[in-house]
């Protein structure tokens, strides 16, 4: 079976992942809406997963894919808990604007 990377090149995937990741970062910094921030985090996670798979193929090794699988499991759990927290925040404060969440103030 032919290695797909011979036709695409790992560096393309690196660029893609990095850009995707940076878009995620950008989103986290740019938006105030906690849900969107959450989505940005998901985008970052996916960027990383994508790179994992790419390198998994690069090395012709399945470990990377296994790791992505676990990462997805964690992401699922994280989203569930995170959204629950957001819901309860919304219930208490009536808003999920992160600039309003200042309880961390020392």
């Amino acid at each position: 079976m032919n290695n797909i990377l011979n036709q695409i090149g790992i560096e393309n995937y690196i660029f893609l992942s990095v850009l995707l990741f940076c878009i995620g970062v950008f989103g986290v910094l740019y938006r105030r809406n906690a849900i969107i921030v959450f989505m940005s985090i998901e985008i970052m996670l996916n960027a990383v997963n994508l790179l994992f798979v790419a390198f998994s193929t690069y090395h012709q090794d399945s470990e990377g894919q296994v790791f992505v699988f676990f990462s997805m499991a964690v992401a699922a759990a994280e989203v569930a808990v995170g959204l629950a927290i957001l819901v309860s925040v919304f219930r208490n404060l009536g808003s999920i604007d992160i600039d309003n969440l200042k309880n961390l103030k020392g």
């Binding site: 079976m1 036709q7 193929t57 012709q60 296994v66 699922a76």
Partner: protein, 170 residues
């Protein structure tokens, strides 16, 4: 230019564009929709690698489960309005700067971290079929696998507890 490369470029363009739109849309519902598209395109990338198992799981978990959760939440909170106030200009500018800087730094580093060989080896071995992955997961990664399930269980319980309304006076 091979068809595969063209496919890759198309998919990449979709991925990036939808990701960007996710962040850029003012309406959270739109964001969620764009994100679904983004996830699908990523699943496409997986397919391109012939990682069938991951592609399927990805679609199920992300596009299926996670996105539904997002949408539910948005609707629950009645957030499908475009009334979000922008952050201050300085913050947005800063965000853009950080975006650029991070991209440059990460790209440079990844590119430089290891010289990329012109030829990519092909072992011919099957390493990513569902069958193989299944074996690996349940043999070598048995314990983490079980832990993942426990994690999900715990997360579930946690979510239930978190979202339960506390009775006043208790």
């Amino acid at each position: 230019m091979s068809p595969i490369l063209i496919t890759f470029y198309c998919l990449a363009a979709i991925t990036l564009a939808t990701a960007f739109l996710t962040i850029y849309s003012k309406n959270p519902i739109h964001s969620a929709i764009y994100l679904v598209l983004c996830f699908f395109s990523i699943a496409g990338h997986y397919l391109l690698f012939n990682a069938q198992f991951l592609a399927i799981v990805h679609i199920i978990v992300y596009s299926g489960a996670i996105m539904i959760l997002f949408l539910f939440t948005i609707m629950l909170m009645n957030l499908n309005k475009e009334n979000e106030v922008h952050k201050p200009r300085i913050t947005r500018l800063g965000a853009i700067v950080v975006f650029v800087v991070t991209s440059i730094v990460l790209t440079t580093i990844f590119i430089n971290s290891k010289p990329i060989a012109g030829e990519y080896p092909t072992t011919g071995e099957d390493f990513q079929s569902i069958k193989v992955l299944g074996k690996i997961l349940l043999n070598e990664y048995m314990v983490p696998f079980e832990f993942a399930s426990i994690l999900l269980l715990v997360a579930m319980i946690g979510v239930v507890l978190l979202s339960k309304k506390e009775k006043p006076g208790k």
